[in-house]
C-alpha cells in the first residue's frame, strides 16, 4: 500500500526483508514448481524433473528455511534498533 511509508528505519528494513522473502517464496513455489517448470525440465531428478521435486518437496523445505531466516533476521534487527523485548 502506498501509505505505509513509516519514517521509521526499523519498519522500512522489516518491509524490505519481507519483500525479499516473499519474492523467494513466490519463485520456489509458483515459479519453479508451476510456471517455470517447463523451463527447467532439462534437469532430471529421480525419474522426473526438478520442477516436480520443487512442487512436492523443495518448496516446502524452502518455506521452512524462509520462516527461520526471517525470525533470525528480525530478532537481530530488533536488537540493532533497540526494540527487542
Amino acid at each position: 500500500m502506498a501509505d505505509n511509508s513509516s519514517s521509521n528505519a526499523y519498519w522500512a528494513a522489516n518491509v524490505r526483508i519481507i519483500m525479499i522473502s516473499l519474492a523467494i517464496w513466490f519463485v520456489c513455489s509458483f515459479g519453479l514448481g508451476i510456471i517455470l517448470r517447463p523451463m527447467i525440465s532439462g534437469i532430471s531428478v529421480g525419474g522426473t524433473d526438478l520442477g516436480f521435486w520443487f512442487a512436492q518437496q523443495g518448496s516446502i523445505i524452502i518455506f521452512i528455511a524462509l520462516i527461520f531466516f526471517y525470525a533470525w533476521r528480525m530478532n537481530k534487527l530488533d536488537a540493532e534498533h533497540g526494540v527487542e523485548e
Binding site: 512436492q56 518448496s59 521452512i64 526471517y70 523485548e85
Partner: protein
C-alpha cells in the same frame, strides 16, 4: 490378541492420555481459557499448531488425492504449507504484539468499529462451522471403521472426549492435548511410510525414496510408476493434465486461505513474546512438513503397490485371480472402500482406465469389459500398514492417529467459535460489564454449545459437506486475511474502508460460489452450470479466494482514500504493534 482388541487398547490409551492432560491443564482465568495464559513455549506451540492444522483430511485423504492425479495435485502440498510463510511474515508477530484474545477483537480495535468486528465474527463463524462439520464426520467415520461401532455412536464418543478437555481447559487444555495428539498422529503416519519406502527403494526416508530407484525394476520409482499407470490407460503421474492457470490460482487460494483461518491464527496468541511467535511459525511448519513431505511418497508408493498387487507379473500379463487376492483387500472389502465386480466373468481383477478413448482398443483385444476394481482414495493411507505387512499394533496406531487428527482440529475450531461468541459477542456487545468469573463461565457454556451444534451437524451432515471446504478457504482469504494485513501494514485504511472491503469479500465470494454450486449449496438452485466454460475469466469457484481478497483490498483502499484518516490513537496503535518492545505486558482487555 485380535486386531479389534488391539485397536481398542491403543485408541483407549490415547484417550486416557488426553483426559489426563485435561485434568492437569484446567483453565482458571479467561486468559488461560482464550490464550493458554500466553505461556506456551514456541516449540510446543509449533506442535500444537501442526495438530490444530492437520485435519482428518490431511491425515487420511491427502496422500490419496495426490496419488489419484499425481503432479497436478501438488497444489495441496504447496498451498497448505506456503500459507505459513504469509502467516509468519505478515500476521503472527504483530497480532501477538497486539496481545488480545480473538481475531475479531483486533479487527474491531484497529478499525475502531463495532460493525467491522461483527462482520469479522460472522466470517469467523461461517468459516469455522463449515470446517468443523468435516472434522466431526471424519471422527465418526474413523470410529466406525476401526472400532466397529455405529458412526453416530463414534461421533458421540468423540464429542464427549473433546467436551472434557475443551470445556475444562479451554485453550490451555486444547494446547497440551494437541501436543500429545501431534505425537500420536505423526508416529502413526510415518512408521508405515518408512517401511514401505524401505521395501520399495531401500531408502528409509520416504521423501527421498520417492526420487530413488525402485529396487525390483532398477528404474527410478517415478519412471516405473509412470510406465505402470500409462500401460493401464491412466494419465501419467509426473506431468500436468490441467491448466497451469488453474493450478496457480488454486495453490494461491489455499495459501491465502490458510493464512486467514482464525483457528490457526489464534494459536500464535498463546506464546510469551513476539520473537516466540516468529520462531513458533517455523516450528509449526517443521512439524507439518514431517507429514507433508511424507504424504506424496505415501501416495505414489501406495498406488504403485496396488497396481503391483493386481498385476503381479507386470502390466502386460494377466491380472491376479480374485480368489488369490491378498488379505488386506479382503479386510477392506468389508468396509465398502474397495469394490470388485467381475464384468467379463474371468475371475480376474481387471483394473484399468475404461474412460480412456486411446486405451479402448487394447482393453478390447484383452477381452476386458470395463474396469472391475474401484477403491476410495482414503484406502491408500488406511490400508498402508497391511499392504506393507506390518504388525497389528501399527494398524491400531493408524486408528489412533486418524482420530487424533480429527479431534485436534475440531477442538481448535471450537475454541475459535466459542471465544468469538463469549468474548466478541457477549463481553463486547451484549454485556460489557460481565465479571471475569462470569466471562469464564460464558466461555465454557459457549464451548459446550458449540460442541453440541458441531455434533448435531456431524450427525446430520448437510449434503454439501465436501463443497463447504472451498467456502471456508475462500472466505478466510477474502475477508479475514486482507483485513488483518491492511490493519498492520497500512495506517490509512479506516473503519468505513475496512468494513466495506470485508463485506465485499464476503458477499462476492459467497455469490460466486452459490452461482455455480447452488444457493446455500442446495442442488438445483445454481444459476449457471458448474463447468469451466461458464466461469468468469475462467476462475473455478473453489479457487475464487484470491479474487475476493483482491476486491477486498481494492474497495478498502478506494473508500479509505475518499474518507477521513483514522484517529491519532489508532495510528499510534498501528505504530505500537509494529515493534516487539512491550509485548510482555500483554493485557486481556
Amino acid at each position: 490378541m485380535d486386531q479389534y482388541t488391539l485397536n481398542l487398547l491403543v485408541v483407549g490409551a490415547s484417550f486416557a492420555l488426553y483426559i489426563g492432560i485435561a485434568i492437569w491443564a484446567r483453565a482458571g482465568t479467561t486468559a488461560e481459557f482464550y490464550a493458554a495464559g500466553q505461556g506456551v513455549p514456541p516449540v510446543m506451540n509449533g506442535m500444537a499448531t501442526a495438530a490444530d492444522w492437520m485435519s482428518a483430511a490431511s491425515f487420511i485423504s491427502m496422500a490419496g488425492l495426490i496419488a489419484a492425479v499425481g503432479y497436478g495435485n501438488s497444489t495441496f502440498l504447496m498451498g497448505w504449507t506456503g500459507g505459513y510463510v504469509l502467516l509468519a511474515l505478515l500476521l503472527a508477530p504483530y497480532l501477538r504484539k497486539f496481545g488480545k484474545f480473538t481475531v475479531p477483537q483486533f479487527i474491531g480495535d484497529r478499525f475502531y468499529s463495532r460493525s467491522a468486528r461483527l462482520v469479522a465474527v460472522v466470517s469467523l463463524i461461517v468459516i469455522s462451522v463449515t470446517y468443523v462439520i468435516g472434522q466431526m464426520t471424519g471422527a465418526g467415520v474413523a470410529f466406525s471403521r476401526f472400532l466397529e461401532v455405529q458412526s453416530s455412536t463414534g461421533l458421540w464418543i468423540a464429542s464427549g472426549i473433546v467436551f472434557i478437555y475443551a470445556v475444562l481447559g479451554g485453550m490451555k487444555g486444547i494446547t497440551y492435548t494437541q501436543v500429545a495428539q501431534y505425537c500420536v498422529l505423526i508416529i502413526a503416519y510415518t512408521i508405515p511410510a518408512v517401511f514401505i519406502s524401505l521395501q520399495l527403494t531401500g531408502n528409509p526416508i520416504p521423501g527421498l525414496g520417492l526420487f530413488s530407484t525402485h529396487t525390483e525394476s532398477g528404474l527410478p520409482l517415478l519412471s516405473k510408476l509412470d510406465e505402470m499407470v500409462t500401460a493401464l490407460g491412466f494419465n501419467d503421474y509426473t506431468n500436468l493434465h490441467g491448466s497451469t492457470f488453474n493450478m496457480f490460482l488454486f495453490t494461491l487460494s489455499l495459501m491465502i486461505g490458510t493464512a486467514g483461518l482464525p483457528h490457526v491464527i489464534i494459536r500464535f496468541f498463546t506464546v510469551p513474546k513476539v520473537a516466540d511467535a516468529r520462531w513458533s511459525a517455523g516450528w509449526a511448519l517443521v512439524f507439518i512438513a514431517l507429514l507433508y513431505l511424507t504424504a506424496p511418497a505415501v501416495g505414489a508408493m501406495a498406488r504403485l503397490n496396488i497396481i503391483d498387487t493386481i498385476y503381479k507379473d507386470g502390466t502386460n500379463s494377466a491380472p491376479v485371480l480374485y480368489e488369490e487376492r491378498p488379505n488386506w483387500m479382503k479386510n477392506w472389502e468389508v468396509t465398502g472402500l474397495l469394490k470388485y465386480e467381475d464384468k467379463n466373468g474371468d475371475g480376474r481383477i481387471q483394473y484399468y482406465n475404461d474412460k480412456s478413448e486411446g486405451f479402448k482398443a487394447t482393453a478390447e483385444a484383452n477381452g476386458w469389459a470395463g474396469n472391475e476394481f474401484t477403491f476410495n482414495n482414503d484406502i491408500l493411507v488406511l490400508a498402508n500398514p497391511e499392504i506393507a505387512n506390518l504388525p497389528g499394533w501399527v494398524i491400531a496406531l493408524i486408528a489412533a492417529g486418524g482420530l487424533a487428527a480429527a479431534l485436534s482440529t475440531a477442538a481448535g475450531l471450537l475454541l475459535a467459535i466459542s471465544s468469538a461468541i463469549s468474548h466478541d459477542l457477549i463481553k463486547d456487545t451484549l454485556n460489557p460489564n460481565i465479571s471475569e468469573k462470569g466471562e469464564l463461565l460464558a466461555a465454557r457454556i459457549s464451548m459446550a454449545g458449540a460442541i453440541l451444534v458441531a455434533t448435531f451437524l456431524g450427525l446430520n451432515p448437510p449434503g454439501f459437506a465436501a463443497q463447504t471446504v472451498a467456502l471456508a478457504f475462500g472466505l478466510a482469504a477474502a475477508t479475514i486475511f486482507p483485513a488483518l494485513m491492511m490493519g498492520i501494514f497500512s495506517k490509512r485504511i479506516n473503519s468505513t474502508g475496512a468494513t466495506l472491503g470485508m463485506l465485499t469479500g464476503l458477499v462476492v465470494t459467497c455469490v460466486y460460489l452459490f452461482t455455480y454450486l447452488g444457493w446455500f449449496f442446495i442442488p438445483g438452485t445454481n444459476m449457471l452450470d458448474n463447468v469451466p466454460a461458464n466461469y468468469l475469466f475462467g476462475v473455478p469457484p473453489a479457487a475464487f479466494g484470491p479474487i475476493g481478497a483482491l476486491l477486498n483490498f481494492a474497495v478498502a483502499y478506494i473508500v479509505s482514500s475518499m474518507t477521513a484518516a483514522p484517529p491519532k490513537e489508532v495510528q499510534d496503535l498501528v505504530e505500537s504493534i509494529r515493534v516487539p518492545k512491550g509485548a510482555g505486558a500483554a493485557t486481556g482487555h
